[in-house]
Symmetry: C2
Subunit: 651 residues, 2 copies
């Protein structure tokens, strides 16, 4: 098994896969791109989001970006330090849901789960839209097609994941390292050029920034906080590493913590560097081109694209490389959600907060449902918000900080419990230190959550504030249902299968053909107490024809013809079964239905539709069992043969 496919399997399969683990674990150089494409890529848009908010206050307040950027770097380092503790405490993987459920109970865990589900959708939507913005910045003629391009990329990711992408480890590594490399190269070029006395300015430096209103006093503070909150997108995806600890090479926790530290340093420097260049180059951005004195509808480049164009100057190839790897790493960041979503759904399925089937991730179709669901939700958001990154971002950060806060708070609880158990004095000191880190992290992220809520609520975050409780209530409802059902089907200790009474079999026939004869043959092997063939006829003539054929064939099963003046098939049979004299208290009636099995999807609606509806109704009748006797038509036999061949080739 190659390292790439192992990476994928582990990423998708852990921490819940059973058996066969520990064969191929990820070294840090592979784990970094696998787990960090999401947090690293978010530096591509974080700076711009800060500037966009401050632009509302005009040129005079743009300098506040420095404070926001410093605040974010501090926050990032604190969160990274905090999550490093999780890597040590949860070598089996410490996602927000797992940590919450173990330390804070089900309610907190479900809150975290609601936040995470929303986050996955937002990760796809925001990353893809941002990736498309990188493309349209390089090719302005595509500017009007952002929605279509975004939907295309989401569909592409969904398709790749549905097909079961192989070797995604390698794919992850390439654009992620390329992105890091190009960004640092850009820093180096900028430093050298500026050191040699060049004055570099962004293309938008000369554009005016028309303030939307004048901010001062509390309003100015709120604007700065809002800019800070917007920039916090740089932190999204940080927890992926702590989630994936078991996939790391040994010593797992140490390696994961180290990777997290590397990621933190890379993220912080890249984010801060980009912000410095944006300020030095005087990058001016605004949500609406008219605020920059441009004609409505003028295509605008992203801040990062402007920085790249200004830095690389005539080296166009480097600029295009920057845009290409930015788009690449962002689309791959979206891909992480396609792995994370089914993983979380599986845990929720195991704990019965989601349909139980989601737990059985081995069955391809279940996994597919999750992928399709995620893609549809992301597409809906992209279309609803017209692929406008800034509007989508408002919905993103709340979920992230809800899970941050719960996760850190859970860690505080965790360490306190550790302290309560007798341990060596040295350990106790260590644990106290870790507790302090997590406590500080929890407080800080809680404060940021409040800031985000206050500054973003009216800008769209209210949607998330509504969606989270809805998801929460839905999951609780599912669990309640499963609990009720479990109580309902429980049996007394030692209870055995009961003995049923007489067994009567009805075989539904439409005419004397191969499927009907086969169903009759099968019915006979059941050795029932009575066996009757039942048919529905719309008029007496039709009934006569069938009866004559029946006799001509000399079939030794009595034929019962039900008349159906209104041409219903379902009703007469239901009535017949309901009023059957054989239906005593303990007798069982088996209704045998010959079923045509077809090989093409389009043949499906042409057959068995009445049988299907009949079945759904019969299931509600007491002591009635439905038996499908399949008759495989040629197309079905071909399909079966193809499948068998494919299965043989796989193994």
């Amino acid at each position: 098994m190659r390292a790439g496919s192992a990476a994928k399997r582990l990423l998708v399969g852990r921490p819940l896969d059973s058996g066969r683990l520990g064969e191929t674990l990820l070294p840090k150089r592979v784990a970094l791109p696998v787990f960090c494409s999401d947090p690293l890529s978010s530096v591509a848009y974080a700076t711009e989001e800060i500037l966009l908010v401050l632009a509302l206050g005009g040129l005079a307040v743009l300098h506040l970006a420095w404070y926001a950027a410093v605040g974010i770097v501090v926050l990032l380092l604190v969160v990274v330090a905090s999550y490093r503790q999780t890597c040590y405490a949860y070598p089996g993987g410490g996602g927000a849901y797992v940590v919450s459920v173990e330390n804070l109970g089900q309610r907190a865990a479900l809150t975290a789960a609601s936040a995470l589900l929303i986050d996955y959708v937002m990760t796809v939507a925001v990353s893809v839209v941002s990736g498309v913005a990188a493309i349209t910045s390089a090719v302005p003629s595509l500017d009007g097609h952002a929605v279509a391009l975004s939907v295309f990329f989401v569909a592409l990711l969904a398709w790749l994941n549905l097909r079961g992408v192989r070797e995604s480890g390698r794919w992850f590594a390439l654009p992620t390292y390329a992105f890091i490399g190009v960004i640092y190269l850009m820093f180096a070029v900028a430093a050298v050029r500026m050191a040699s006395g060049a004055t570099i300015r962004a293309e938008s430096a000369a554009l005016p920034v028309e303030k939307v209103s004048t901010y001062s006093g509390l309003a100015l503070v709120l604007l700065a906080l809002r800019a800070f909150a917007s920039g916090c997108t740089a932190l999204t995806g940080v927890e992926a590493v702590s989630n994936g600890v078991p996939a790391f090479a040994k010593p797992k926790s140490r390696n994961a913590a180290m990777t997290l530290a590397i990621m933190g340093v890379l993220s912080a420097t890249m984010f801060f560097g980009i912000t410095v260049l944006a300020m030095v180059y005087e990058v001016h951005v605004a949500e609406d081109p008219t605020e920059l004195g441009l004609a409505p509808g003028t295509p605008m480049s992203t801040a990062l694209a402007q920085i790249g164009r200004a830095t690389f100057g005539d080296w166009h190839v480097l600029f295009y490389a920057l845009q290409a790897v930015t788009a690449g790493v962002l689309v791959l960041a979206a891909n992480t959600a396609f792995n994370g979503f089914p993983m979380l759904a599986s845990v929720l399925g195991r704990d019965r907060y989601a349909p139980r089937q989601l737990f059985h991730r081995g069955d391809r179709l279940v996994y597919s449902n999750g992928i399709v669901l995620l893609a549809l939700a992301a597409v809906a958001l992209i279309v609803a918000f017209d692929a406008q990154l800034t509007r989508l971002i408002q919905l993103y950060i709340i979920g992230v900080f809800v899970s941050f806060t719960l996760s850190q708070a859970g860690m505080v609880k965790h360490w306190r419990r550790e302290l309560a158990t007798p341990a060596a004095a040295a350990d106790r000191h260590d644990i106290r230190r870790r507790l302090a880190v997590n406590a500080f992290g929890a407080c800080l992220t809680a404060v940021v959550l409040v800031i985000v809520l206050i500054t973003k609520f009216t800008h769209g975050a209210w949607l998330v504030v509504i969606a989270m409780p809805v998801l929460y209530a839905g999951m609780r409802g599912v669990r309640r249902h499963y609990d009720t059902v479990a109580a309902e089907v429980a049996v007394r200790p030692g209870e055995r299968p009961g003995t049923l009474g007489a067994h009567h079999v009805l075989v539904l026939v439409a005419s004397v053909n191969a499927p009907s004869l086969r169903a009759l043959s099968y019915a006979k092997t059941l050795r029932p107490d009575s066996l009757t063939a039942v048919t529905v006829a719309e008029d007496p003539a039709e009934a006569e024809v069938l009866r004559a054929t029946w006799e001509a064939h000399g079939i030794d099963v009595p034929l019962r013809v039900l008349s159906s003046p209104y041409r219903s098939i379902v009703q007469p049979i239901l009535r017949h079964v309901r009023d059957a004299p054989e239906r005593t208290a303990d007798a069982v009636i088996s209704v045998v239905i010959p079923e045509y099995v077809v090989g093409h999807w389009w043949e499906q609606p042409l057959h068995n539709q009445s049988a299907l509806r009949l079945k759904t109704r019969l299931l509600f009748m007491k002591n009635v069992v439905v038996v499908d006797v399949p008759y495989r038509l040629a197309s079905a036999r071909e399909l079966a043969a193809e499948r068998a061949k494919a299965a043989a080739e796989r193994s």
Copy 2:
């Protein structure tokens, strides 16, 4: 049974309902509104469509409307005379499909069916949009909401039909007679006012009609023909009466022919009267308000609304009454399609050109599918064409004239065959006369079809020209599939059910609970040659727990645990069944699945999903039968009780 509900039942159920006929038949006064709301209501927009086309040529060519109107009245009377013959020849109902299939063969019949299916969709779309135009003409503030209103009415009709509207006969009678009454009242008022010397002019009389281009020579002729073709919408729905002959009181054919004649006279006079008033009042209309020198987006009244407003003057209540009954009769006209569509689908299902199940109209769900399909198609058209009547009309007329022509041509064949049989001389004379009427009708409608095709093709009719062959090919494909399957399942004369070999039963269990025990009980009553319980365990611990419980309960069925390292449920079972040593050439394996039956739709995805997928796969295996043993949860038992109660109340 009340006359109203009888009307509905007959309209919906005939001519294909079996048994119990002839109890309550429709007198002419009820049949007229039931069958003629569609053709009568089309006079509400036919005149306007003529004027809209001529407006392209400016004021100078508006007088050509006279020629178009006269042509249409002649055509209408010819078509009515022609269809009167059908009423006599087909007392069992002579729709275009029936007449074509009997006289012209399957190809012509399928062509007619394609045309009719499209017509039903167009009837809904055009009538509803036109009805909404009547409303927005009276309440101009609703002008921007035409699409929403139209979709609302289509949804309302679909909902009423899904609920199974009762007493629709009465509902049909009221707006139809009110419409006729108000139109004739309007004629009377206009005549009296003008006779007393008043000069009545429409509100738009003073507006200029800016010609789009100058037409002369052949172009002028084509424009006149196009205006004529547009006005031919007045003929839509004429064949409904000949379709419904069996619903008439005796003498059926005579009464139907008489009703058709009355309808023809009413339609012709109303259409011609409206056109006369439009010309006298100098009603000016255009597709775009700017062509009338108005600001873009100015709400414009329909021609009929302008005539009504001008005629009734200060008697506003009469104007509003006119608009209300116009909207009412148009929406009811749309309703006729909701009856006709399933009727045709049923015939196509009987002849196996459509899924066979459609024939079994007695089963509510099938009928519902047709209604939903029709509504969705109409809504799609309304949205795609922005609820613009004129653009929709282009698609309407082709289908109508295709079925007219085929129907008349079929009648010609019919009479020729009649002539070939020996008959009395008097009869022969009569038949020759009828043949002449139909032959003339066929030629005339064929000529009009060519005119419509030529003048409308580039204006949207090409869509229908594509859609018809697609529908045709689809229906042929369905029939071919059914024929292939029938050949495949045919048995030799005298063939009997064969004898199968050993019967092995596998019961799938997840845990020891009531549904599992019940499935085991059932499996025992099958007296199989072998009986095994099969379970899938994700890890050895889980397997151990189940095995211990199994033994604690002392269940005397061997338990086989399949391991599933990848947490799939479906794959291990499929593999187990596939490789089962018992699976010899003639042995049968029954897979018994305990199924949870739930009463709420939202509970459905929470259960049985793995079972469902398993079933679809097992059906493809040779000699494998799937048995569902239902376990009804409390919610299912409640639903069953409710249904039983409802059924008891109905009967």
